[in-house]
């Protein structure tokens, strides 16, 4: 009996090992490459960029993990910058990479991160989508019908940050005002107010920021 259990354990380990290794080593390799992107212009940076680009959408789950507070000391970010929205060293290169390679598959991967358990990952995934703008708007607006209320609220929040690029989502946001979840309704109402006329100064700033970050 014990021998059989041990054998089963061995088989389970043998099957689980590649999965664990794939994810862990891919995450580590991508983190290393994202860190290289933040470095000076040199061959190592070019190689890192080429590897990440070759991975494309496969890299996204690992790239968004670079947003996690585990990757930087959030407390020191708060202390140093006076705001908790201070990003870790890997956050900006990861966001820039995702923005520069915003194919539909990549956008879908970032949108999926809106529901991430790690709030930092969800937060910066949302900011990345707001950076991407028009190319991300349909996928984000579609998440207003996600079964998970937190994701619906995230989608509305991201649309509120998009500036003019988010305006095609206004009908979907109007529908979200009748959402069964109170938080979603409130965030949708805020998003509508941000995407309605009168916010042109904000839109212009978003446009300029988006252009500057490319």
């Amino acid at each position: 009996m014990a021998a059989r259990l041990l054998r089963l354990l061995g088989v389970a380990l043998a099957c689980a090992l590649p999965v664990l290794l794939w994810d862990a080593s891919l995450r580590a390799a991508v983190r290393r490459d994202v860190a290289a992107l933040a470095g000076p212009e040199d061959p190592a940076r070019e190689r890192a960029a080429a590897r990440l680009a070759a991975l494309g959408a496969d890299a996204v789950p690992a790239v968004v993990r670079c947003f996690s507070a585990e990757q930087h000391n959030a407390a020191s970010a708060v202390r140093d910058s006076g705001t908790s929205v201070g990003a870790g060293e890997l956050t900006t290169p990861a966001m820039t990479f995702l923005q520069a390679h915003a194919s539909p598959d990549v956008v879908d991967g970032v949108v999926a991160a809106l529901g991430d358990e790690d709030h930092d990952v969800a937060h910066f995934a949302g900011l990345t989508l707001a950076w991407i703008g028009e190319a991300a708007e349909p996928a984000v607006a579609a998440r207003l019908r996600d079964p998970e209320p937190r994701v619906r609220a995230s989608a509305a929040w991201v649309l509120s940050l998009m500036g003019e690029a988010g305006t095609p989502a206004l009908p979907a946001l109007q529908e979200a005002l009748a959402d069964p979840d109170e938080d979603v309704r409130h965030v949708a109402r805020f998003a509508i107010s941000q995407l309605s006329s009168g916010n042109e100064a904000f839109w212009e700033a978003v446009r300029a920021f988006r252009a500057g970050s490319r």
Partner: protein, 502 residues
């Protein structure tokens, strides 16, 4: 080499070393230095980097040693060797798949091919290990040293197990008795939809972008801003299950229900200006004193009443309220403006907590263990009597802020009076030392005397609070803002004053 002619350390030695090398290969991979197929094929791999070459050399060495361990057979050597090969199987799979990297599309197909091949490799390695273990010589009788080692290992395990059970039992008992509790975390703001927790100071993020169009009603916050305050294990029932309170702003950027800018006929309208005490930090909107005042006045006056919560509408002190009240406040056509004056309007250093706080070291394991918390608490010096801070001395020594705010109140009063609007200053007490030596009493007198001297109407709410238990009025042990009870007492005091004949 036959099993009988080999030395006793052969087999286990190769297997053990192979396992160590395979683990090192994994460690290199997990450090992100693995030349991996999923990074787009070997053409793009960082093979030129020394760490990658070392990784490849380690993998080859581990595989050769593991194969030798398997060939020698015997249980002690075969299983570590088989495990080493299983650990190396993902690398073998990558090498085997490398020639087909270009033909395998990114995503699920490439991942599936890799996973299948490496799982098959790992299973095959374990099967080989099983066969090799059977092939080896049977284990001999244990030596006296092995017997003693086993005996001591059993005793150690028993002692460790007993200790673990005792520790768990102590943790549970202390937890049930409420001893050694984790200290409270500081309150935070949460953006629903964003999920990120931020310090309360981040409230400044929600200010409008750019100046408001001329001639429009505006506030310090954007319309329909929505966020939540989070508290660690709050006491009061008005918090939701997650310990949160919602801050919902209306279309005017005020924390209030929507209202029309112009009052209805026969409506009695009050604008409540102030800071976090009026805004209602840590309290739901309907329990904030302006809302309670609105309900009470409506009930007693028998006519439409609108009390507009303009807490934080323009800043934190009367100097900020002045331009907003003279511009936006007047547009609301109120009968009365009540300024909730907080005592930190007199000096920025006047704190909500009137005593020097006890400095405590951080709890071990971030406060997760009742046992360690209780142990740390027992080693701390005993808590002495709370030492009050004489705030009056501070304000008298540096009166600039108070003088500026007093002048702003005077100017506001003049501007409102010219439009027939009444201004009332409500002195809101700090909720600290109410049962004993209240350290802010001198400040109350200072404000009351200044109002009397400047011809301002003033209601001091301190008498309604004196004698009450501080903690029963706080939002949370980490937040000395008034809770629902404190807001109700403020509302009753203001209402009583407003209903008095002038």
């Amino acid at each position: 080499m036959s099993a009988s002619s080999r030395r006793s350390w052969e087999g286990p030695w190769e297997g053990g070393l192979a396992l160590i090398l395979a683990l090192a290969v994994q460690a290199v991979a997990l450090a992100g230095c693995q030349p991996a197929l999923h990074l787009g094929g070997f053409a793009l791999l960082p093979l030129a980097e020394p760490i990658a070459l070392l990784d490849a050399a380690l993998a080859v060495g581990a595989a050769l040693l593991a194969l030798r361990g398997l060939r020698l057979g015997g249980r002690p050597g075969a299983w570590p060797a088989a495990l080493a090969l299983a650990l190396l199987s993902p690398f073998a799979a990558e090498v085997l798949l490398a020639p087909f990297a270009c033909t395998l599309p990114n995503g699920a197909p490439r991942r599936a091919a890799f996973l299948l091949l490496s799982a098959a490799g790992a299973l095959g390695a374990l099967r080989l290990g099983q066969r090799a273990a059977r092939r080896g010589p049977p284990p001999g009788p244990p030596t006296p040293f092995a017997r003693a080692a086993r005996r001591w290992a059993a005793r150690g395990a028993l002692a460790a197990g007993t200790l673990a059970v005792l520790l768990v039992a102590a943790e549970l008992a202390l937890g049930a008795a409420g001893v050694g509790e984790r200290r409270y975390a500081r309150p935070l703001l949460i953006l629903p939809g964003d999920g990120r927790r931020m310090p309360l100071s981040e409230i400044a993020l929600f200010v409008p972008f750019g100046p408001p169009p001329p001639g429009t009603f505006s506030s310090r916050f954007r319309p329909y801003v929505f966020f939540k305050g989070w508290y660690d294990r709050p006491r009061w029932s008005y918090f939701d299950a997650q310990g949160q309170v919602a801050y919902v702003f209306n279309r005017h950027g005020l924390r209030d229900h929507d209202f029309e800018l112009l009052p209805a006929p026969d409506e009695y309208r009050v604008v409540a200006a102030g800071d976090s005490f009026t805004f209602g930090a840590g309290v739901p909107l309907d329990l904030c004193w302006p809302e309670v005042l609105e309900r009470n006045l409506r009930e007693h006056l028998g006519r439409p009443v609108e009390v507009i919560n303009a807490g934080f509408a323009s800043g934190n002190h009367p100097g900020d309220y002045e331009p907003w009240l003279i511009g936006n406040g007047v547009r609301l056509q109120p009968d009365v403006v009540v300024v909730g004056l907080c005592l930190n309007d007199l000096h920025k250093d006047v704190s909500l907590f009137g005593f020097r706080p006890r400095r405590l070291p951080p709890q071990p394991l971030a406060g997760r263990s009742h046992l360690l918390n209780a142990w740390q608490e027992s080693r701390l010096p005993p808590d002495g009597p709370a030492e009050p801070i004489d705030w009056t001395v501070l304000v008298a020594a540096e009166p600039e802020q108070w003088e500026a705010n007093r002048a702003a109140l005077r100017r506001t009063h003049e501007a409102l009076e010219a439009r027939g609007i009444r201004l009332v200053v409500a002195i809101l007490p700090m909720l600290s030392g109410l049962r004993g030596e209240y350290p802010y009493e001198g400040l109350h007198h200072m404000v009351a005397e200044a109002c009397a001297s400047d011809g301002l109407e003033c209601v001091d709410l301190l008498p309604r609070f004196l004698g009450l238990v501080d903690e029963d009025l706080w939002v949370h042990p980490t937040d000395q803002h008034p809770n629902d009870v404190g807001h109700r007492i403020i509302a009753e005091g203001v209402e009583e004053y407003l209903r008095q004949p002038r």
